[in-house]
Symmetry: C2
Subunit: 449 residues, 2 copies
C-alpha cells in the first residue's frame, strides 16, 4: 500500500515538533500566568449546532460515521461532525456546565480543529488553535476587552519570532460613523470596506457607490478606514472628519481605553487600525487582528473580538470576548521559511556510552542518577566504538557523551562533542549549562547544512 502525505494534514519531524512544543509551552505558560484555566472539549458536536454558527461554515464541516454502522444507527451517527473552531464548542460548554462554573469565567483552549476546505499555502484541513475567552452572565465589564491583547502581546514577546502587531478596532466606530453620515446598511458597508487590503481603495469606493453610497460617503468611509495610530491620536483624526454620532463616541472611548492599556503595559504591541472589521457578524465591540512584521500578506495570525451574545439558553445571555492564535498557520510560515529552529531533535542532553553489553547496567545506573536531577538522557543502543557512539549523539544534536570509567582515576568523563572538551565528571553532581538542559528554540535558519 502506497504511503503519501494527505494534503492539508501536515505532520512534523521530531525537531519541528520540538519547535511546536516550545510555542505551545510559551502560550500555555502565559495564559496560566494570567489566571486562565484550561479546558478541552470533545472533537465532535452535533452537526445542527455546527451549522448554526460561523457563517458559511457548513461547506467546511467533516461529518463522522461509524463504518460498521447499520442503517438504524448510521442515521444517529451522521448527526455528529468535527468542530471547525473552538468558539462554538466553548459556547456549548458554557451552557452545559453553567451551574458548575464561576462567572466571569476565563478559560484557554488549545486543540486541533478540522475544516474540509481546499488546502492552500497557510491553510490546513487539520490545525491547532489556541484561544482565550472570558464570558460573564448578562453583562461583561469592558476592561476584559483590554486584557485580551495584553495577554497575546506577552505570548508574542516571549516567542522567537519577528514583531507582531495587534490591530485593534471597535465595531461601534464604523457603525456610529456610517450612521452619522447617513449610511443605513452598516453590515453591508463593513463587508465592502473589509476588502480594502485585498482590492484597494478605488475598487472599494466603486463597490460602495454600487451599493448605494454617494461618492462623498464612499470617500468618508475610506478616510475613516485609513486611520491608524499607535497612540491615542486616532481619536483626533476621526474627530477631524467632522462626523458625530453617540455610537461613534462610545466606540472611540472604548478603543482609546484598550489602546491606553496597551501603551501602559505592552508598548509597541498594539495599533488602533480603523479598517479592521472581522468578517463575522457576531462581533459587537472591540475586534482584533494580528500581523507578523514583514509577512503582512499572510493575513492575520491571531484574531477575535467581543460578542454580546456568545451563548444563550433563552433565559440567560452570556456576553464574551475572546482571541484565537492560529498556531499551525504561524508555525507553517516560520518552519517553511526557516525562520525558527530547534537546537536538537531529541530532549536528551546526554548520551551515556556503553563500554560493553555486560556493563550496560552501569550505564543505566548513570542515566538514572542524571535523570533524578532532571537531566534528560539516553543510554547508547550498542557498545560500539566510541567514535560511533559520538556520531549517534551528533546525528540527534545531543551535546554531551558520557564515558563510564574513562577517567584515570577510574571515574567517569563527559565530553562536549561540539567543542571536544572532555572532563572528569560525577553523575551525582555534574550539571550541564542551563541552555543545554533542554532543546533551544531560536529565530533563524537551521544551522546544519
Amino acid at each position: 500500500m502506497k504511503i503519501s502525505p494527505i494534503s492539508g494534514f501536515p505532520e512534523y519531524l521530531p525537531s519541528q515538533r520540538i519547535v511546536e512544543q516550545h510555542f505551545l509551552d510559551v502560550i500555555r505558560e502565559t495564559f496560566e500566568l494570567h489566571g486562565y484555566p484550561s479546558i478541552e472539549t470533545r472533537a465532535v458536536e452535533p452537526v445542527e449546532r455546527l451549522l448554526g454558527k460561523g457563517g458559511d461554515a457548513d461547506k467546511e464541516i467533516y461529518g463522522i460515521r461509524r463504518l460498521a454502522a447499520d442503517e438504524a444507527t448510521a442515521a444517529a451517527d451522521s448527526e455528529l461532525g468535527l468542530h471547525f473552531d473552538l468558539t462554538v464548542p466553548f459556547a456549548r460548554y458554557v451552557l452545559e456546565n453553567a451551574g458548575h462554573l464561576s462567572f466571569p469565567f476565563r478559560r484557554y483552549q488549545i486543540q486541533k480543529v478540522w475544516r474540509g476546505e481546499r488546502p492552500q499555502e497557510g491553510r490546513y484541513r487539520e490545525f491547532t488553535q489556541a484561544d482565550i475567552d472570558v464570558v460573564d452572565v448578562g453583562e461583561l465589564a469592558p476592561h476584559f476587552e483590554a486584557e485580551m491583547p495584553l495577554v497575546i502581546a506577552e505570548v508574542f514577546r516571549k516567542l522567537p519570532i519577528p514583531p507582531m502587531v495587534i490591530q485593534v478596532n471597535n465595531r461601534k466606530i464604523p457603525e456610529g460613523f456610517y450612521r452619522g453620515i447617513g449610511i443605513e446598511d452598516v453590515a453591508g458597508t463593513l463587508r465592502i470596506v473589509d476588502k480594502l487590503d485585498k482590492i484597494g481603495p478605488d475598487k472599494v469606493a466603486e463597490q460602495l457607490v454600487a451599493a448605494g453610497c454617494t461618492p462623498e460617503q464612499a470617500q468618508q468611509c475610506l478616510a475613516l478606514a485609513g486611520i491608524r495610530s499607535a497612540d491615542l491620536s486616532f481619536v483626533e483624526q476621526v474627530r477631524a472628519l467632522g462626523v458625530s454620532h453617540p455610537t461613534l463616541d462610545e466606540g472611540l472611548d472604548a478603543l482609546a481605553a484598550v489602546i491606553r492599556a496597551g501603551m501602559d503595559n505592552a508598548p509597541g504591541a498594539m495599533v488602533a487600525d480603523l479598517k479592521i472589521a472581522r468578517g463575522l457578524d457576531y462581533y459587537t465591540g472591540t475586534v482584533y487582528e494580528t500581523q507578523l512584521a514583514g509577512y503582512e500578506s499572510w493575513g492575520s495570525f491571531c484574531s477575535g473580538g467581543r460578542y454580546d451574545s456568545l451563548a444563550s439558553d433563552g433565559k440567560t445571555t452570556y456576553p464574551g470576548v475572546g482571541i484565537s492564535i492560529g498556531v499551525s498557520r504561524l508555525l507553517g510560515l516560520l518552519l517553511s521559511k526557516g525562520l525558527v529552529t530547534a537546537s536538537r531533535s531529541t530532549p536528551a542532553a546526554v548520551l551515556v556510552a556503553v563500554n560493553d553489553e555486560e556493563s550496560r547496567p552501569t550505564s543505566v545506573g548513570i542515566a538514572t542518577a542524571l535523570r533524578q536531577r532532571g537531566i534528560p538522557c539516553e543510554v547508547a543502543p550498542k557498545p560500539a566504538k566510541f567514535g560511533k557512539q559520538i556520531r549517534y549523539a551528533e546525528r540527534r544534536g545531543i551535546p554531551y557523551v558520557w564515558f563510564p570509567g574513562a577517567a584515570e582515576s577510574g571515574g567517569d568523563q563527559v565530553k562536549d562533542i561540539r567543542s571536544g572538551q572532555q572532563d572528569d565528571a560525577d553523575a551525582s553532581t555534574w550539571q550541564p549549562p542551563a541552555e543545554d538542559l533542554r532543546p533551544q528554540v531560536t529565530a533563524g535558519a537551521d544551522p546544519s547544512p
Copy 2:
C-alpha cells in the same frame, strides 16, 4: 436546541482538567527525561490502512466525510477514517519519514484516538493515549524490552495514584511450552488461556479440551499460566513443570533479563506473570499489562509488547517495542471514585483586588510585577467590597488576595484567605510558598463538601 452530553465523549470541568494536565505533564516530563522526542500524527489515516491492522478494528472505525462534498469528491473523502490507536499511525509515519529519522528511533506520542464502540464504564469513544515506542531497522536490541516498563514504572511512581503493577511475560514462553508438550495451535491456545481472569480455570480447561488438547495438556497450560513472581523464581517454577523446548529457553532468558532490570531499577514495580498474553497477534516477544492495586477488575491501564514487524515497506522491516498508557481510562476511574483531586480550579495563585475602577491600572501593574516573577494571578473583575472579592477567590480556590495600598505605610498587603493571615507585601519581592505556586494534584477525595 437541547444541550446534552454525548455518550462516550467525556469532558472535564476546569479542576478535573487540572488533574489531567498534571498527569500529562508527569508523563511527558518522564518520557523526555528518558530521551524520547515527541511526535504527533494527523487524526486521520486511509481507511484501507486502518482496516489492515488491529484485528477486528474495522467495527470501531469512524469514517469522515465533508458534509458539502459532491458525489465525485465524496468518494475520495470516504477513504479517510479517524485513527483508533497510535501504533498504526506511528508505523506509517516511520515508513513515510524513514529517510529523515535516525535509528534506533524512539518517540512518545500523546494524542486522542477514536473508536465507535458501544460506550460502557471505563470505555470511551474519544480518549487519550500516551505511547512510547522504539523501532530499529532490521534488528532491535533486546535491552529495549527492559527499558519500556522502567520508563512506565517511573511515570506511575510520580503520579498520585495507588500502586501499579506491571505484569510482564514473553510470548516465547507459552509458545515454547505449548510446543514442548505437543500443542500445535499456539495462537488458539493463547486466546483461550487469555480468558483465564474472566472465565476461570475450569472453563479454560474445558475450552482447551474442546479445542483438541488432552486433559493433561490443559492442566499443564493452566499450571504455566498460574506462575507469577516478583523475582526470578518464575524460572525454576517453569522448569519444575518438566517441559523443555529451545523457544521456551529463549523466552525464559529474555523475561529474566527484563525482570532483573526491574529488580535493579524499579523494585516492586514489575512481576513476571505467565498468564499475560495480549489479544493482538502481532506481538512476538515481551508483552506488558498493568493493574492498579485494588482495581484489578478494571483490567489493564497500560499495555504493549514487542513486535518483530511493526512496519515494513517490502524491502526493510522495522521491529519495535512499545507500551501505551490509557490516560482517559485511568483518569475516568480516579475521578469517578474521588481518588485524585486538584487544590484549585484555576492556575491563579493570587487575586489582585481592585479598590475602585479608576485604580484598576494600579492593580494591573501589581499583577504584571507578580507574573514577571512567575506567579500566576488575575485582577478582580469588579471593585466590589473586599469580602466579595475574597469570596470570588474562595470559589476558585485561589489561596491569596492582594490588597493594593492596604498597609499603614500606604504599601500593599496580601492575605492568605485559608488562614486569614494578612501581611505587608511588595509585588517585586513577595513569593508564595512553592506548594501554592501551582495547583496541587494529590491522591484522595475532594476536600470540599
